[in-house]
Subunit: 222 residues, 2 copies
Amino acid sequence: MELSIGKPILELNERLAADNRALLDEHRVYVLDVLASPGAGKTSTILATIERLRERYRIAVIEGDIASDVDSQKIKAQGIPAVQINTGGACHLESAMIQRALAALDLETLDLIIIENVGNLVCPTDFYLGENAKIMILSIPEGDDKPLKYPGIFQASRAIILNKVDTAAVFDFDTAAFYESVERLNPTAPIFPISATTGQGVDDWVAWLTAQIEKEYGCASS
Amino acid sequence: MELSIGKPILELNERLAADNRALLDEHRVYVLDVLASPGAGKTSTILATIERLRERYRIAVIEGDIASDVDSQKIKAQGIPAVQINTGGACHLESAMIQRALAALDLETLDLIIIENVGNLVCPTDFYLGENAKIMILSIPEGDDKPLKYPGIFQASRAIILNKVDTAAVFDFDTAAFYESVERLNPTAPIFPISATTGQGVDDWVAWLTAQIEKEYGCASS
């Protein structure tokens, strides 16, 4: 019952992803691919991350959306370079799109690129873009049963951010059940409960991300 | 930049959808295809709809999920027949899956089938399943900018439910901006602000759905 995306498309994607990876390694740029449902708080989490890391790293953002440039405008308003990709209907980003976005950025002047993928818990999971890590954000209002329904994305994510914890009182979210389901699918992924809006928990997430970057490329140059 | 799903797949889907449509017309069964993000409240809205229509119509539910049968268990617990489709990774339902689900139901004994599609604002939009109407649910926590980012689904939906309005105080949701964006994309679609949990607004939505069913097949037989 699985829609076959077609082997040629996935193979081409892998090949271009490897090219992206080589280019990024050459310039020692760490790339984080952020996955989530629409409205889980990708942009606000990215903005909160930038706020805490902009003194340490030179950052750019690649924004993936079906349509509009709402999010890249928010990033640019913070003085951070942003490249908008409009997929024109496609449900995920592919390596070819990232390749074009990388060509629009000056990699010599960057340490960290954050990719905001299209809001979708399914399709982006299958597409390696050349990133160092995929992470995902689930928000409290989406419900604690999402690991059961969308296991693939929980397995593909190096870390899991649980966002909007400041709204927990309003929603019937079983935190213990959520942690248990995630642990079964992905026992090594840390879970960071945060509120991107209030800032709660964001420092822990950012400390983890910093450790990942330093593990890959050593300490920041700037 | 659009992933080509492949013309043969879409053509096959359309052909099987027409078969589904003919079978459903023969049995005078109205089919509603419900689209939304993960966690927007599809299952709870369907349960609230069933609660108000189960005396008037004989109802069944087709549940589409990547994995698990969490939702169909909730439907069955209400004494309503439910068929679970696990797509095993696919990001949307297709006509062939619906065809198999219809074969598992006794259409002679049904007036209304509600399909809960996979949680995804993108892919299900392109797949006609033989339904009478697609509708979508957006929930307040997802944000008022979603019509700008996911225009296709707002255009494909006959009606739009705005769910979780009881949580509006906690989120910064610009209702006027949302209505304006929807109106630009789809001027004829009514918007029903509801809370599936508290029941607020659900009667208006159900009255609209009833009118659609009666317009198609006349008044209820039971």
